[in-house]
Amino acid sequence: MSILHTVNKSPFEKNSLESCLRYAKSGSAVLLIEDGIYAALAGTTFEQRVTTAMSELDFYCLASDVKARGFSSSNVMDGIKLVDYAGFVDLTVEYEKVQAWL
């Protein structure tokens, strides 16, 4: 019964990502959208935290939100898969439930 967790807030401003990672069960997935994509960037103070979480969780990131904010796939950490809107829909189907960390 895996859950797709979505995070749409910047980790620098809100603790949505922190809470998500604290409560997400091994084997579930985290999809970073809107300002949540800042957690997917390489070289930030959150890189280590996310890298550690990758051993238990699958990470995805919405490509159009990355692009809108002036970043590209080369700025996104290795191990985070970029998805488009269709991929977002596929994830919601693939996982049992969606939990939105607002």
Partner: protein, 120 residues
């Protein structure tokens, strides 16, 4: 009348909220009224200045070209927190305008030196 020194403090990332856009509007209006304007970008605010923003897929307006137009409105003092840049893995070359990088201790003084502070 004395021209007031106004500091616009930007702390939010673009697009997730409307703060960034509101700040741009206020700055352009302020410049029309001959304010002495300085812009400060701290926390997630500096993401507003990231080069290469492309909002076509989101079907919303990309307002980042406005920062490059500020110069024409005599808005030339743009300050960015050095510490905030480092925390986000950004370098001066990642930004779309020329900025002055300041330490957080210098930013305290900057806030002190202005008559009015607008927060976004």
């Amino acid at each position: 009348m004395k021209i007031k020194k106004c500091l616009y403090v930007n702390r939010r990332a673009p697009y997730g909220t409307c703060y960034a856009l509101e700040a741009i509007d206020m700055v352009l209006i302020g410049s029309a009224f001959d304010q002495d304007i300085s812009l400060l970008f701290i926390d997630d605010g500096l993401f507003q200045l990231k080069k290469g923003q492309d909002t076509a897929d989101l079907e919303i307006k990309n307002h980042s070209p406005a920062y490059r137009a500020f110069e024409m409105y005599d808005v030339e003092k743009i300050y960015v927190s050095k510490e905030a840049m480092a925390a986000r893995g950004l370098k001066r070359g990642d930004l779309l305008v020329d900025v002055e990088l300041l330490s957080d201790s210098r930013i305290k003084e900057l806030m002190d030196e202005h008559d009015v502070i607008f927060s976004f």
